[in-house]
């Protein structure tokens, strides 16, 4: 399959187009691990997989662990509904990702890299294998990078098999080890005991792609793009009711207004920021900014036009969570199904105050008692829709009669 044929629209100029992956890698090859890490610290780079953890800190933790067998895992599971930036990066800029993994390897002291590719992207596999093959032959991968016998790093591709939860880093590691994707307890963290119990750094595709750019152009080139608190730029996957869906790069601190204008979605009734596990923002919130302090996201932006039934959205996402829960813990396994039933019911017969109280209690239990991020954030979309669009529900059957009688 020709991977470029499904590349889609890139709406503005991407920073990745202006760098060559291997200048950064070459520089890193001549740097010490400390130097690499201090450059990444100075850039302020944070993870792009959703949690926004400072990348250099993660690397430092893994570096300080003893042992000569460590792993760098690139998380290409990209399962959050409405996210497809990693797909574009793997299509157009795979060299950046692989160079980023090798640089991470040098910083951490790891010689093995694994790219965990979601099954839905199996059509990208041949393309990626070819790039890996080319890199090996060019001494950019494998034994002795740049003919330096102390710099060894190779990458293998492992496939997922269709499970959203395997994007969660500990579930991903379980899957790599040949198990069900059941999220692990944290402590130990993957940086301490990850793949096969060895120190493992798990980073998102985009996080890794920024690394060689930062090393080549310097940390201030990167941090100058965003705000003081959220330095850098970000790729956004924009879909839904707008004229120009596609991939857009923005510096942190960009407002939703600006984004909507650029993509031709000015008449939006709401914007879903962060996918199914993100927030649904009504027009009163369109001046909010995309940044670590305000609307932090994994880069998914779904736009809902005036015609959209918002509880159709809530039901669609709730179905997604009920389907994708790994089933290990009760609040998530049962809670998401209960919530789905309740949404279906309220779309027909409205929502009375008593039921609403119970449901809110349920969501708070799910948020606090679930083991991993899936269960903890699976109520966000529903709650933000309930808070902002409750008027779209039909009147409660009994209440409608009561109001009619009173009038």
């Amino acid at each position: 399959m020709d991977v470029k044929s499904v590349r889609g629209l890139v709406g503005n100029k991407l920073s990745f187009e202006s760098v060559s992956a291997d200048n950064g890698l070459k520089r890193a090859a001549n740097m010490t691990a400390d130097e690499i890490i201090s450059q990444v610290i100075a850039s302020g780079l944070r993870g792009r997989g959703g949690a926004g953890f400072p990348t250099a800190k993660k690397w430092e933790f893994a570096r300080s662990e003893k042992g000569d067998s460590k792993y760098i895992v690139c998380n290409a599971d990209e399962g959050e509904p409405g996210t497809f930036k990693d797909r574009l990066i793997l299509t157009d800029f795979p060299d950046l990702v692989f160079a980023g993994m090798a640089i991470a390897g040098k910083a951490v002291g790891a010689e093995h890299g694994i790219l965990y590719l979601r099954a839905e992207y199996a059509w990208l596999r041949d393309h990626l294998e070819k790039v890996l093959e080319w890199r090996r032959s060019a001494k950019l991968l494998g034994k002795g990078l740049f003919n330096n016998k102390y710099f060894n790093f190779d990458i293998q591709i492992r496939m997922g098999s269709g499970a959203y939860i395997c994007g969660e880093e500990t579930a991903l590691l379980e899957s790599l080890e040949g198990r069900r994707g059941d999220a692990r307890n944290r402590i130990p963290f993957p940086v301490q005991a990850g793949f096969l119990g060895k120190p493992t750094v798990v980073n998102n595709v985009e996080t890794l792609a920024w690394v060689p750019c930062i090393i080549e152009k310097g940390p201030s080139w990167f941090s100058a793009m965003g705000t003081k608190k959220s330095p850098g730029a970000w790729l956004f996957s924009v879909s839904g009711d707008c004229k120009r869906p596609g991939i857009y790069e923005y510096p942190f601190g960009t407002s939703l207004h600006q984004l909507l204008e650029d993509v031709g979605g000015e008449d939006a009734k709401a914007v879903q920021v962060g996918g199914a596990s993100g927030l649904c923002v009504p027009p009163t919130g369109f001046s909010r900014t995309l940044s670590a302090g305000d609307l932090a996201t994994g880069g998914s932006i779904i736009i809902y036009g005036p015609e959209q039934d918002m509880f159709d959205v809530a039901e669609n996402f709730q179905h997604f969570f009920a389907d994708e829960s790994c089933g290990q813990c009760v609040p998530c396994r049962i809670g998401n199904v209960r919530l789905l039933d309740a949404i279906r019911k309220m779309r027909k017969a409205g929502l009375d105050a008593e039921t609403e109280r119970t449901l809110r209690q349920l969501t708070s239990t799910m948020r606090t008692a679930s083991k991993c991020g899936l269960g903890q954030s699976s109520t966000k979309a529903f709650l933000s829709i309930l808070d902002n669009f409750k008027n779209e529900l039909p009147p409660v059957v009994g209440e409608a009669k009561a109001t009619a009688a009173a009038e």
Partner: protein, 169 residues
């Protein structure tokens, strides 16, 4: 190697490629699933024995992942994206209807000739170009009623070229 069934031979070949350890379980199941569209009981038992992984765990893994199946499926598994971002594309419903009508089956079913299975799947990362389907490992985007019918025809021709029908007959 007399007395070995084709499945045993196949599993042994896969073990030579991927290794005889627990981390090889997923790649081996994935390849078996890819070759046969599903994991037969015989295949799972054989993998369990050869890798020394308890049967219950092999079955547990096989049933956890939505792209692995323990029930026979068609030569081509068509997965239609059901996420809201894809479903929002205006042509979504006509395309779904056209697919069901052309194949004469609903979601979760396989055509009587064993050629196609129709399934729904969660976001496949094609939200900017929906409606989208995956057919086995290939993705098709920006579907219209006309293009989806053409795609089905292409796969029918492909199956014919493989001599697919003859195998069952």
């Amino acid at each position: 190697m007399e007395g070995q069934s084709p499945v045993q031979l196949e599993v042994e070949r896969l073990i030579r490629v991927h290794g005889r350890n627990r981390t090889a379980l997923m790649p081996i199941l994935q390849e078996l699933n890819r070759a046969h569209s599903y994991l037969s009981e015989e295949a799972m038992l054989c993998v369990s024995k050869e890798l020394g992984v308890p049967r219950a765990e092999v079955y547990g893994v096989a049933t956890f992942y939505s792209f692995l199946s323990v029930r026979p499926r068609g030569r081509f598994v068509i997965r239609m994206c059901r996420s809201i971002s894809c479903a929002k594309q205006g042509k979504f419903h006509p395309v779904t209807a056209a697919l069901m009508e052309e194949l004469g089956i609903s979601f979760g079913e396989t055509t009587p000739d064993g050629l196609f299975t129709l399934e729904k799947t969660n976001c496949m990362g094609m939200c900017d170009q929906g409606p989208a389907i995956l057919v086995n490992e290939d993705v098709h985007v920006k579907l219209t009623v006309a293009s989806v019918l053409e795609i089905i025809d292409d796969y029918r021709r492909k199956a014919k070229a493989e001599g697919f029908g003859k195998k069952i007959a």
